[in-house]
Symmetry: D2
Subunit: 343 residues, 4 copies
């Protein structure tokens, strides 16, 4: 089978060897199903070390599940959820949020994947008006789908605005580790220390085989999650195989090393291509993704060797994602080909 | 960690070594996400070998997902689904079917987990009456939640009755391999050859780490499944890690050997306990589960060493499930303890 | 047009003349829409007189809307609702409860339309078990769909049992006035005085053109109802035309007179037919409906002149409903025909 | 009670006398419930005269019900629906569309309430991509929520674009009569002759007490509507009281006269105020609504006498709606007060 690495997505990569090893170690005898096992208890302990002792954490299968179930837990069916037009929630989840929560997504146009109080506040009105979907959650992605980062100050402003309006802040952190690595902060400092209420914390895109976590700032926010997870078809029976992965990821800084590496690879890639005439980098490279305009005629040849997504057909903007297993050789070879093609 | 084996459930067991090996082998380089990879193509090919070339097969994370998404695909929100009162669908999925499909579950009382045309036909009426949930699916579990089996003739009668009424037959086959092993038939012979329309085929309870399949008798029945799976939060990004498990399970008769083994262990266990005075086996042992009445006073002591579920508190009926990794020693030790306790 | 009266249903009747007059009187100038008008304020005041000053009342279009929205307001999507197998909720609302609340209906077999703690308690278990739909509401119909009545003591027992289990009691009172008339009690005495939590109070079947009320025992229970009503498509813009009907119905004992009359007509009808050989009355006649077995061969001839429903095809049991406008002549003529046909 | 007329909304008005008379006439004896009556048959016939013989028409209670159920009938849960940011569907239905259909609303910014192929086509992509909500319906409001009109050519372009992409065109015609009156065309010419697929046709805002119609271009499109209406809690039992209103509305050009009148009153009002300094009319007055900027300081005094809505707080834009019962005196008095206040 073809196993060459490309830049399509960090979920094209496999499982980090240490995590695979952890899975193998967990494959011993019997363990209680549905999370009532020692592996899960240990993983939860790790989460509390990293995110704070008051958080309440649950494991699910995938990112869509994490986002949708986290949001369902803190909303009523008549609420609205405000997010960037580019949010995964809005663009890539095939109406899962609408179907499962009943809520309306209110979108905010954005050039860099980020939203701000200024940009979203026109959606926040009509409290108590029975005709009007009641605003309840602001959802941001950190880092954004465009590889950019919110500063801590920007997140704090959104949290404060949300709380002032009796709303909550949700963070889609499918790649949160990359944000922490880039901001040079702990996972807690960039989330619950700022007052974030609900967080999807990604494992799959940082070297896990599968598995994401939904983390609530405090128990009061998560009350019904267990039932919602089961009803949402996201309760794993052999839970230990998610938990053992998370325990490993959160041990010995593996989460950080993986994220630092993919961030560094993205920086390297950006540095290499930014001087190629005809290629124009379109977003700040703050995490593991590089967005660039590549003239349309060159794209097919490039895609023959390396799969990647065209992000914006109209302007021929492409996305190159780096992963924990991207190597400097991968980048050198790719850039060489790119230069050859566009020259 | 405590790793001793009990008889709680076949999802307390871990991953079969060969399947874990297959996962390791699949952990090589990059692969297209979301099922567009060679591992998935090969696994699908295996499914067609076992279930027939016209079937359409999709992989999901877990059994609840398989049941609910399969049913959603073939129903409208105003349909009813008929199943046994004891069906997993009805008892153990926390309203996931109702929430995601909108449909009503109509239940049929049963002593052995099985339903029949005779028992269910009072639910089949009111076609065209706008007040009445329109009957659309009969759902059975094979083997049943009580470890019993439908004969091929019994399944055929249900299929014929369903089709005669423009309804469909759904099979929850979380342990279908055990049924095939026990009936000494191929997977196809006990499902699509009989006209079954939609099937949940279980991997997790037969040695996989996670992963189930939804199989439709023909493409016409599955049309929108891909969207429903994504909206249902059951689309795995690193799909190869489900596919490679299934490919291995369906190769070299591993599915069959595992199932034959757990069936045999159940038979052995039943044979051992049936002569213990005070213990009364309550269901035919046709697959991998043994149901027995154990006088209430003995249960706690037994559960101290071996976890298992009390199925019916009232009559102190317990369930002992065997698994692919249950050994004769496990049974010998368990029976010895049981004898010691009840004597 | 054919305007002869039959015994099909109390919703085959038209609007009581006094209520039509009230509508006409309300048709003056402009009034604020959506319930923010003086007619609605006055109607709400009437409800508080009849049901208690602490109740919270809302108007909706129809009975299905009243039941479903009342239940949605007090449940989470993972709850179960226990009701009689014969409940309108279960049989005649085309999965509206399941679709809109997500909840599972757990049904209780019944010969007389009534359920009891004894009969339903096997459904009340599994609290806190994430796999299990959490029991939350017991729903009864008063009078039942079979024309029978719960005694006050029976309702109280259900309320107490519900509350003891942190559950609520819901009453489908589409014909509640008939119950009060028959029990010779006030509307409050048969509902909130007993601790009922949520009530659908019917107008349409007691002489209104359209309109039902959802009444909560106290404000704490109804918190989000306004949004749920709007989202549930049951918010009337020209609300005054529901409110003015209710105000009239609840004035000068009109609700009671109408109900007493239809009850009396049912008694009369039952008295007349009970001695006809071959006709067998099957349920106590405690409200406005009469259930009787009429040998199959006589039904078509009877239905040619008078429309009514065959309730149970198998045993040829029919339902005859009386209405506020049923006259003694109507009954005399009907009985005469019946006697002629069956003689 | 205060009955003075204002300009808040055409649903602040009462029932047209002729329609009230029709209701009274229908209040005779018994009639089959749920639409199986002669009044409904006659009303349906009227609809076929006005909209074409192939249409399939159903009556519901209100506008939200009409929109949501019409859309549910032609969508799957994973579809998207494209509409103007200002659409009632999007702004005033408290997530009813999302909750009941599961679909995502994709909105298009608009200054005049209208959308066009040019403006919306960026939402139409990703067909067959399982991650992406599949575009299925374009929904427009005619006349728009801002009192403007689509030309026939504009509607046709949207229809053609929709059909070319295997999508459908839905029209929210809560005030469709006003559009036909203003365009001087028949109801059919502005809808089904252009290829419109699903139409909400409003009664309430044109003189009815309550009642709206959902009309499908052809039977093939409406297949399951009867079940969806019941499940959607919009099936009226005493249907004759909606049907008789519609029959009257569609007879003797009452629908047209009412609409012409309210349109004319809006024109008159606009003509009167457009020359008042400080007042600025903001939208073309093509139907029954007038939108104008009234400096903030004058609004409260004006609202003391006449209720109306502030449409856009930021720029102090108000909406004045005329109704079938608005008189020239009403307008003269209102304008006089306005002049007095702003001078």
């Amino acid at each position: 089978m073809k196993t060459s690495k490309g830049f399509a997505s960090d979920n094209y990569s496999g499982t980090h060897p240490k995590i695979l090893e952890a899975i193998q170690k967990a494959n011993l005898g019997h363990a209680s199903a549905y999370g009532n096992d020692e592996y899960t208890a240990k993983a939860v302990k790790k989460f509390k070390e990293h995110f704070g002792k008051d958080v309440d954490v649950y494991f699910v299968y995938n990112g869509t599940g994490a986002n949708v179930l986290g949001l369902k837990t803190v909303t009523e069916s008549f609420n609205s959820i405000i997010c960037a037009e580019t949010a995964h929630l809005n663009v890539d989840e095939c109406c899962a949020p609408e179907k499962f929560t009943g809520c309306k997504l209110l979108t905010v146009p954005t050039n860099d994947g980020k939203i701000s109080v200024e940009k979203l506040k026109h959606h926040v009105y009509g409290f108590g008006d029975q005709h009007h979907a009641q605003p309840k959650v602001i959802s941001i992605t950190q880092p954004t789908e465009l590889g950019t980062l919110y500063t801590l100050k920007e997140v704090k402003e959104l949290v404060d605005y949300a709380h002032k309006n009796n709303m909550l802040l949700h963070v889609d952190g499918a790649r949160l580790s990359n944000a922490a690595a880039s901001l040079n902060k702990s996972l807690k400092e960039i989330t619950f220390d700022l007052g974030v209420d609900v967080l999807s914390f990604g494992g799959t895109k940082n070297g896990m085989m599968f598995g994401e976590a939904v983390i609530f700032r405090k128990k009061e926010l998560s009350r019904d999650f267990a039932f919602i997870r089961k009803q949402g078809m996201q309760l794993a029976s052999k839970m230990r195989f998610i938990s053992s992965q998370f325990e490993e990821l959160l041990s010995n800084d593996l989460w950080l090393k993986n994220a630092q590496h993919s961030n560094k690879m993205a920086k390297t890639l950006a540095d290499e291509v930014k001087n190629i005439p005809k290629i124009k980098i379109t977003q700040k490279v703050e995490a593991s993704g590089v967005f660039a305009i590549v003239p349309k005629q060159y794209v097919p040849n490039l895609q023959e060797e390396y799969f990647f997504y065209v992000w914006n057909e109209q302007i021929s903007e492409v996305r190159w994602m780096c992963s924990f297993d991207t190597t400097e050789d991968d980048i050198r070879d790719f850039v060489a080909l790119l230069k050859k093609i566009v020259k």
